[in-house]
Symmetry: C2
Subunit: 309 residues, 2 copies
Amino acid sequence: MRKDIKVFAPASVSNIACGFDIMGFAIDEPGDEIILRQKETSGVTITKITGDNGKLPLEACKNTAGAPVIALLKHLGINPGIEIEIHKKMPLGSGLGSSAASAVAAAFALNELLDAKLTKEELLPFAIEGEKIASGAVHADNVAPCLWGGFILIRGYEPIDIVEIPVPDNLYCTIIHPEIEIQTKEARKILPKEVPLKDAITQWGNTAGLVAGLMKSDFNLISRSLKDVIVEPVRSALIPSYYKMKDAALSSGALGCNISGSGPSLFALSTSYEISERIGRAMQGVLEQTGLPSQVYISKINKQGPRII
Amino acid sequence: MRKDIKVFAPASVSNIACGFDIMGFAIDEPGDEIILRQKETSGVTITKITGDNGKLPLEACKNTAGAPVIALLKHLGINPGIEIEIHKKMPLGSGLGSSAASAVAAAFALNELLDAKLTKEELLPFAIEGEKIASGAVHADNVAPCLWGGFILIRGYEPIDIVEIPVPDNLYCTIIHPEIEIQTKEARKILPKEVPLKDAITQWGNTAGLVAGLMKSDFNLISRSLKDVIVEPVRSALIPSYYKMKDAALSSGALGCNISGSGPSLFALSTSYEISERIGRAMQGVLEQTGLPSQVYISKINKQGPRII
């Protein structure tokens, strides 16, 4: 049996314009790295966290990577000593599924380390356990894409129903992360409790259209469907220069552009690496005028999920 | 050039549980028949209507088949004399797209009669013109499936965006029509203007799931997605023994069962002719206990749309 393991888990984009709470996809970068080590004495301890600016708790049961490890060990009915090292390679509170990546990486790593042979379906609830600590609610629209890779539809939550949606090969994602932090919990508070039926109909036309567009490799349909009439009008107010960045992305050839997760990051989809780079430059150009620093990531859809490195 | 033409256009099921206002499919039967004849004197006249119990107006501009003919002639900039015979082969106000079938049959027939060579996309607005007379609003979720055949997603209305969704070959539809009439206009009035965001999310998870299920030929996913948490709870109250019929359909092997259009008809989807017959008998058995007469139709998805007969 292995003594230690190092795992990478990818960032993910959830909501994807029209699919609030039900859709997400994984991207090749950024992502988090987790190292697990078997130790002599029992108990789960976090020995090191880097890249979090001291924001994440070292207490394992309160940590998005620690909690899944504890829950999974309990499920397996064993109590080996486990040391966890967490290397955050993406910004926290960025709307890129940072907590999901750590939770998935930890659950996946433990499963491999102990050779426990749980399937992704079986690992999912333990990864969600970690995500719950960060967002305060059970959502799988980052955890599931991160764990499966690819584009994931969460059809429903009772019980959780994961559907893999095939995507065209030449689909590229540009991410811009403006250096402000938005807490998912806060971003949920400003959502309306009720929405006009008319808008809900528009939204479900687009969710259905997006799935059809992806499965047909119909980029024009994907583009027409990447719209959000419910969440974007509210949450865009939290992001400086949001509509200017979006306009810049669309003018640069993006199929669509919207808030990644609960923001502040934006994602834009396109059909080539060249276009996705151009989009990144255009969005960053908008932010530079405001003096707000940002990071840009260019990536294909990650089809693998977590991997041992 | 032809002197006359006879056209069949199919009934259709709209809403399809989760897809209120955005989805519909055509069925092989029932359907309406329209005969158009060129006449000596100019003007559009309706010479005969059968099967409507005297309910439909003979005045062409107020008739769902007459209006599209008038509008299409105006568009073509010609004024030949046209006689219309309408043979309603399905109940009115049944939730089976009766007005859409007449409107589509008329527009399609005129296009063929005059060899005007309009595409389906080009014919659509004229067929919608007829449907508008019946429902008082612009909806395409019966007209589009009737015109194209197959399973149609109307992604959006501004502008109208028709998406053909491939369906598995062995998909069967059972229709039961209880002999009561529900006016679409009335059925719309009882809908809520606002819906809980939570329910809207559930609904768009299901619309996305249904499209994925159809395109993957995943009958289990189709079944899990055929749910409606928004419209069914309200409109089911208009249909006697609705939930008993639905339970009977599901117990008989239906993938899903729900209100067809605005009712009172119910549709149930299944994977074989045998099951669809069993479903029909089970639903009719429920209605017989109430003394309410009904018709049952068994059909595959109609993939052709209107045809010359």
